[in-house]
């Protein structure tokens, strides 16, 4: 349980700092520390993400970083994809979903390394 709380805190920091990391830490945290199966962990992660994203958005909006119109469009235009994704997840076995999720984690890691390398090349972001 302490582990779950620590994972939650870490996921929040990473989400605020890097814009990714809520779910990508929640899911393994829920599986490894609370013993949920992959399907339950993914579903529960989604719910846990919502308040985190609301608070993060509120803070970022105060810094003037949120492009509100695009965010709204992105959110509304994602609904069909989200419904399809949930249906697909529930059609897959837990083992397949878990291995695919592990692959996703490695890909996100690779992406972060790539972003860090771009940063080092001096392109200070707006």
């Amino acid at each position: 349980m302490i582990g779950a709380i620590a994972i939650g805190l870490a996921a929040g920091v990473i989400a605020g700092l890097l814009g990714v990391g809520g779910g990508v830490l929640f899911v393994p945290g829920l599986v490894l520390f609370l013993g949920l199966d992959q399907h339950h962990a993914e579903a529960t992660s989604l719910l846990a993400i919502v308040p985190v994203a609301i608070v993060g958005t509120y803070r970022q909006d105060r810094y003037g970083n949120v492009v509100r119109r695009d965010a709204l469009l992105l959110g509304l235009l994602s609904l069909a994809g989200a419904a399809a994704g949930v249906a697909l997840a529930n059609a897959l076995s837990g083992a397949v979903l878990r291995d695919a999720f592990a692959a996703l984690m490695v890909l996100v890691a690779a992406q972060l390394v790539q972003r860090a390398r771009v940063d080092r090349n001096g392109s200070k972001k707006a």
Partner: protein, 150 residues
């Protein structure tokens, strides 16, 4: 499934390495129809990832906003977070219909995360998060191994 993962890798590799000549932070030029279509593609893809993997979709949204719409990284992460409110909210509701959501466990990780995100957004305004990105990448790989071998 693996094929989807591989395609994702290529997609990510393309989107994150980007076109070196493209100026960052410059609003994307071009007709707003094209812009809307790009937003629709990003939204659909992010929704699919979110629903399938139980994540927000930020790892799809952020690089594509940078690459396709000329966003700077900070605006991209902020706008991504705002879009995730809708995406994750909808996907969570859909998962709820399948009976998969564990409310108490969501509270257990979600509430500390709210404190964490306050710290994270504050830190982002002050430091260049390269070292944290690399550290986090290492944590992700280790967790992935743990998840599969468990």
């Amino acid at each position: 499934m693996l094929r989807l993962g591989t395609r994702g890798l290529v997609w990510r590799a393309v989107s994150t390495s980007g076109l070196p000549g493209r100026p960052l932070g410059q609003a994307a030029a071009g007709p707003s129809l094209q812009r809307s279509l790009r937003l629709m593609a990003i939204g659909t893809l992010a929704g699919l990832f979110s629903g399938l993997f139980g994540v927000g979709g930020g790892s799809v949204i952020v690089p594509l906003l940078v690459l396709w719409l000329g966003y700077g990284e900070r605006a991209a992460t902020a706008t991504s977070l705002a879009a995730i409110v809708f995406i994750a909210g909808f996907a969570a509701a859909a998962q709820g219909l399948y009976g998969n959501v564990r409310l108490l466990d969501a509270v257990l990780v979600g509430v500390p995360a709210i404190g964490g995100v306050l710290i994270g957004t504050r830190l982002q305004q002050r430091l260049h998060p390269r070292a944290i990105a690399l550290l986090f990448a290492a944590v992700l790989v280790a967790s992935a191994v743990e998840l599969v071998l468990r």
